[in-house]
Symmetry: C2
Subunit: 147 residues, 2 copies
DNA sequence: AACCCTACTGAGAACGATTATCACCTTCAC
DNA sequence: GTGAAGGTGATAATCGTTCTCAGTAGGGTT
């Protein structure tokens, strides 16, 4: 099977930020993050944290997001209306993401680039150093609702 | 073979913009476009057109790019430093792009998502409605230069 | 060839996401 | 407990892109 529920282990706030310090604000950000289902923008996260910690600055949220992405706790999974979309992602084996456009849920999908595509590119003289893959669609629940 | 030189037929300015009008500015934009090798940003194109038509406004270039993208003459092939990357792309059969990070050349690659990946997602209850794939790497020439 | 409607143009303002700056406050290793 | 490194919030700045507006010019129609 190629798709898999996206890993969402319990949030270990201490590890979320890698080697960064764990401030009170970042604890609240971690908690708000847990309440967000799938893909989210920095603004979404800022709004969620604001409920727990009114007055938190946007810059703080952006910095926390950057720290989490740096620590591989968060993956950049696309863009929506000019805003960057992130999702929790433990890292681990190389994979990509399918984002449900109905509810924002994110699931992992196997990488379709590694293997034949990279090999044939190499045979043609090309070196593939990086790639981006994002799928958009509907999760089973949203698929049913929309026929 | 999975990779193919990206189609770059002679520029037919009249068709580049679909049903839009062909103004003198747009003719110059078409000519500047032909001089750009592979992937480019709106700013790159604006700089190139400015050589032919000093004083052309950025908005004009952005509008022309939007018209060409709308007419399927241009494809959005990724992003670089927060700017959108475009490349000439005649459309036609569904494919994706490999961008040489050395020289900006763009080549077509077959879609690795259609087929097994979509099928297994469907079997898992997911409906895949859209996807984005971009490869980055080095063309044969740049591969040799960099060992 | 003159006419007219409409799309295109350039300048500059506006916009929105993100990042930088700065003075102050916390964390945490020692 | 102390101090240096790092985090915080407010605010300004940045920067790609889009909008607004008044003027211009395609190009189909007479």
């Amino acid at each position: 099977m190629t798709t898999a529920a996206h890993p969402t282990e319990p949030l270990d706030a201490a590890r979320l930020y890698g080697r960064g310090r764990l401030s009170a604000a970042r604890r609240d950000i971690a908690q708000a993050l847990a309440s967000l289902g799938g893909a989210f923008t920095a603004e979404d996260l800022h709004a969620a944290v604001s409920a727990l910690r009114p007055g938190i600055g946007v810059a703080t949220v952006y910095r926390a997001v950057a720290a989490m992405a740096e620590a591989n706790s968060l993956a950049l999974v696309g863009a929506r209306d000019g805003s960057t979309l992130y999702a929790r992602c433990a890292g681990g084996k190389h994979h990509h993401h399918l984002i449900c456009t109905g509810c924002g849920t994110v699931v992992s999908v196997a990488c379709p680039v590694d293997g034949p595509l990279v090999r044939s590119a190499r045979e043609a003289g090309y070196t593939v150093t990086a790639h981006e893959v994002t799928l958009y669609g509907l999760c089973p629940t949203c698929s049913k609702e929309r026929g």
